[in-house]
Amino acid sequence: MNRMRQSVEVTGDTDAVAIERTLAGDRDAFRVLVERHSQSVFRLAYRMVGNQHDAEEVVQEAFLRAYQKLDQFAERANFGTWVYRIASNYAIDRMRQRKSEDSQRAPAVRATEEGAAEMDVMSMVPDGAPSPERLAQSNQLAAHMRRALIELSPAERTAFVMRHWGGSGIEEIAAALESSSSAAKNTVFRAVQKLRQALGPFMEQRGQARAMGTEL
């Protein structure tokens, strides 16, 4: 494992060099790109699909597709942004597929899984929080955010994640959603509006508690 890490650090190829070598037939050169961009693609994927299992699948599939389509990659473009877009597209497909699978399952099974998803959020709150009360509040906030994102439509979630966390331009979002630029703008706006509606009341409560000095 350490040997692998060292080898990437030693090669230190830029993305452009790694792409060129991969296209020339050096499959191992693609590893530099995978190791360099996996973490950020994972963060994007996780925010889109909402669970680690699917996010990891999205990451793998994104790099597989990137490798297959590498000869279509324009040299001037940024590889990170390009693979983001591939990951976003696959994540949208995965969410649609998941939705159709979920609709065929019994409500009881879905309820159990939703409960498990909430538990995942709880387990992600970092250890070492100052007090159980503060931890409970962080958990509550994390659960609120998670729920708010889940309740967005796949297109809204994609648009918001790409715009807010991915730094993508509207044209890029429109391409991923296969929609017009104005429709993509509206989708981002709707997403932010829904998130405000979902999280606003909770934020107000926290603000009031802070003002009254009762925040834990």
């Binding site: 693609f30 996996s38 963060r43 597929q97 992600m124 994390a142 630029s181 934020m203």
Partner: protein, 300 residues
């Protein structure tokens, strides 16, 4: 200027982050002017300023949403998982021996070591064997009958082979899950228990995980969403096991066990495994039987 609406304030927030004009504004080059106008308005209008602060606060809190850390070696793990599935680019098979000139020996060695790992070879060997058998079976059945009947026959044969392979896969998965459920922590049970070594189960889970992904994708492609659904649930549990430390604390072990039990995955794996076994035994089930078993499965 009149009060900006919510959409304009969100666009303004966006332009603040971008540090300049944004593509959210007008398309006739009026972005900068609009931004300036809103900025001036905000200095004079406490209501709009408060509204913008609320937008900023909600979006800022979303930035604090936890995302699990996949680990420092995540990139390497992704590479290990996808490397065996990457086809060679532009390289002919007879060039293989010469190609190492362009890549470092360390890189090539590690990748080939990864792809030649016994677990990977076992997983891909199983799938390759399945494909060969399906191909041969398809060839044998194509020697008789009309073209339509031939297509139907070969697709049935392929389906039966998939059924057989998935059935065996579920059997092996069931064994791992049962062994995990029955494992005992070293040093007693309950709160006195110390560590549980699940290294052996973990290795098997990793192999099963690779197979599981391929079978799930095949089942999805064939439209068998019920099998794909069970394989998907199984994959989550296998992933948990494969990603756990080799030695887990009694509490961590209990969490894994609870996860297996709470989702009833063991039961589902057994039921689908048995059903597949039945389907395998009845070489050519009547259409009525096929529908009946499918209906049974959907009840899971």
């Amino acid at each position: 200027m009149k009060h900006p609406n919510e959409e304009e304030l969100i666009a303004y927030h966006d332009s603040k982050l971008a540090g300049g004009p944004t593509d959210f504004g007008t398309e006739d080059g009026g972005d900068a002017a609009q931004r300036e106008a809103i900025s001036t308005h905000l200095k004079e209008c406490p209501e709009c300023k408060t509204e913008l602060d609320r937008i900023d606060a909600v979006l800022a809190v979303l930035d604090s949403m936890p995302v699990p850390d996949p680990g420092e070696d995540y990139g390497q793990r992704v590479w290990k998982q996808i490397a065996p599935r990457l086809p060679e680019k532009r390289r002919r098979w007879w060039e293989f021996g010469l190609s190492k000139q362009s890549s470092s020996p360390v890189q090539s060695g590690s990748v080939w070591a990864a792809s030649l790992h016994p677990r990977r070879l076992a997983a891909f060997g199983a799938v390759a064997a399945l494909m060969i058998v399906a191909f041969i079976a398809g060839r044998v059945t194509t020697k008789h009958g009309t073209p339509d009947a031939t297509i139907a026959d070969s697709s049935k044969v392929r389906e039966r082979i998939l059924v057989m392979a998935v059935g065996e896969h579920l059997g092996r998965s069931e064994m791992v899950l049962v062994e995990l459920s029955n494992a005992m922590p070293v040093g007693g049970t309950g709160t006195n228990a110390k560590q549980v070594n699940i290294a052996a189960e973990q290795r098997r889970a990793e192999t099963l995980l690779d197979e599981n992904r391929l079978y799930r994708q095949t089942a999805l492609e064939q439209g068998d969403t019920a099998i794909a659904g069970v394989l998907d649930e199984l994959e989550r549990v296998l992933l948990d096991v494969a990603h756990s430390p080799q030695e887990v604390s009694a509490a961590q072990f209990e969490t894994i066990r609870e996860r297996i039990e709470s989702k009833g995955i063991l039961f589902k794996v057994r039921v689908v495994g048995q059903e597949l076994h039945q389907r395998e035994l009845s070489a050519q089930p009547s259409p009525g039987e096929g529908r009946a078993t499918q209906n049974e499965r959907k009840k899971i």
